[in-house]
């Protein structure tokens, strides 16, 4: 009879937790980036042709939104790079962090 206690359940939980956490963080970061980018595009369309104070405020909002969006996309790219790093570590091409 198979003994279920021999299974490394904690490792399964670790996989589940990691997958859930990573997916949530990346999806949220990308989605917020998309939102900020559309905000920036919207502000840009409002600024077009305006030289008033409202126009410069819109330009500021656009810049802030754009910076925020690019920072969030950078988080996603970092996650992608970490994924690549993991592939290389798993295959033994790169030494794991902390390995002697």
């Amino acid at each position: 009879m198979f003994d279920l206690s021999t299974i490394a359940w904690s490792s399964f939980l670790e996989v589940a937790g990691t997958a859930l956490g990573f997916s949530a963080v990346i999806a949220l970061a990308f989605a917020l980036g998309v939102r900020l980018l559309t905000n920036a595009q919207h502000s840009a369309s409002l600024t077009k042709g305006k030289k008033s104070q409202a126009g410069s405020k819109n330009a500021q909002i656009e810049a802030l939104n754009r910076i925020g969006a690019y920072l969030l996309f950078a988080v996603c790219f970092s996650a992608l790079a970490y994924g690549l790093y993991l592939i290389l570590v798993i295959d033994g091409i790169l030494p794991a962090a902390g390995a002697k």
């Binding site: 198979f2 003994d3 021999t6 299974i7 490792s11 399964f12 670790e14 996989v15 589940a16 990691t18 997958a19 859930l20 990573f22 997916s23 949530a24 990346i26 999806a27 949220l28 990308f30 989605a31 917020l32 998309v34 939102r35 980018l37 559309t38 905000n39 595009q41 919207h42 369309s45 996603c76 790219f77 992608l80 994924g83 690549l84 993991l86 592939i87 290389l88 570590v89 798993i90 295959d91 033994g92 091409i93």
Partner: protein, 399 residues
């Protein structure tokens, strides 16, 4: 029979399995970007092929496959090792082709394990099978992997939709959009990562099988790593198979399970990639097919108003349940055929070729290619929103 002939035969059959593995699993990474129009079908399969090729070269560890730990025999020292592997590969190939014909995304790895387990049972008996390892390494992950990926994809989809939500009134008033089509760009990267992870996992299994046979027949010493020609041949076979595009399975995963929007596709791939990489890092070999299918179902449920075709999902699950025993049964039958003195291997070869030909003929009656994977609708929609200037240009170009 001449050992050189046997080895050559096993290498060819193993590479053919690698080829079927490629086209069977193209959908894992590329079904959703094709379905959402993030990538054109031909471009998608070309990227997947390149990523699989690169992934195959990234793999350096010898025969990381867990199939060996599931068997209590050392195939490299087993007298009939080469023939046993040949019979196992036959089981895996025929099951892969049958499920491809039905458009079912079943696990190529499970088919390989099943085939090898079946042929080992026939050759060495039940004592040669490590049942506990099969439960631990195959059955339990097979149940948990799609569930984990599904929950992760559901959650990621919900978050993506909540974060980009704007009420219709806001959109009408300000003319601002949700920007969700931007997820298509994210899909290009996320699907490429899934394809790369697939290449590092699956091409390696074929390399391991060929190396085992080379050792078993004395063509290679036990200490030597994977021969360079084996790496090149395996990488080329999986890449070529991937480029052929298993359009039937792409159709099932891209449009047969749920209607996928770009944000859902992105969430599904991120969930698949995270699950595969987290499990690999912790030493579990999960089926990329099962993970991807689970993620697509999860993302289908994650969108408000999204629906999953449970009938198709049920068929896929039945396919998963049958993969190990069915491939095992074909592997065992193939092994018994090879035991016929003198002509056994030849009979197996002829019978396998005949079945492959029949499957191919049936597939030609109901041909499915890149034009049938839902992109036509996307292209038509794209034409409908062309500006008058662009539409005139397109018309001019056509004429």
């Amino acid at each position: 029979m001449d050992p050189v002939f046997i080895v050559a035969l096993v290498v060819v059959i193993a590479l053919f399995f690698d080829f079927t593995n490629g086209f069977h699993d193209t959908a894992n990474a590329m079904a959703t970007p094709i379905a959402t129009g993030a990538l054109k079908p031909k471009t998608a399969v070309a990227i997947a092929a390149l990523m699989n090729l690169a992934g195959a070269f990234l793999s350096t560890a010898v025969a990381k496959t867990i199939s060996v730990s599931m068997l209590n025999v050392d195939l490299s020292a087993f007298k009939d090792g080469a023939i046993l592997v040949l019979a196992g590969l036959t089981g895996a190939i025929l099951w892969n082709l049958a499920t491809w014909l039905l458009g079912l995304p079943s696990s190529s790895s499970h088919a390989l394990f099943g085939g090898l387990i079946g042929s080992t049972l026939a050759y060495a008996g039940a004592a040669a099978i490590n049942g506990d390892k099969i439960i631990e390494k195959v059955l339990i992950p097979a149940i948990l992997a799609p569930v984990v990926a599904g929950i992760a994809a559901w959650f990621a989809t919900r978050l993506a939709y909540i974060a980009t939500a704007r009420t219709q009134a806001t959109r009408k008033k300000s003319g601002i959009s949700t920007g969700r089509s931007t997820f298509k760009l994210g899909q290009v990267f996320s699907s490429s990562l899934v394809a790369l992870a697939h290449g590092t996992n699956d091409a390696q299994k074929t390399m391991g099988v060929i190396t085992l046979v080379l050792i078993a027949t004395g063509f290679q010493s036990k200490d030597a790593g994977v021969a360079v020609w084996v790496i090149f041949a395996s990488a080329a076979a999986i890449a070529l198979g991937t480029y052929m595009g298993g359009w039937r399975i792409i159709k099932t995963l891209g449009a047969g399970l749920s209607e996928i929007k770009p944000a859902q596709g992105f969430a599904a791939e991120v969930a698949s990639g995270s699950t595969i990489l987290a499990s690999s890092a912790l030493g579990f070999a999960l089926s990329t097919t099962q993970v991807s299918s689970g993620a697509i179902i999860g993302s289908g449920l994650g969108r408000k108003g999204g629906a999953v075709k449970w009938g198709k999902a049920g068929q896929i699950v039945i396919g998963w349940l049958l993969t190990l025993p069915a491939a095992g049964l074909i592997g065992a039958l193939s092994a018994y055929i090879t035991m016929i003195p003198g002509v056994g291997t030849l009979i197996l070869l002829v019978a396998t070729s005949a079945v492959v030909w029949v499957i191919w003929r049936i597939s030609q009656r109901n041909k499915i290619n890149h034009q049938h994977v839902g992109v036509a609708a996307v292209e038509t929609a794209g034409k409908a929103v062309l500006s008058p200037k662009k539409a005139a240009k397109a018309k001019k170009g056509k004429n």
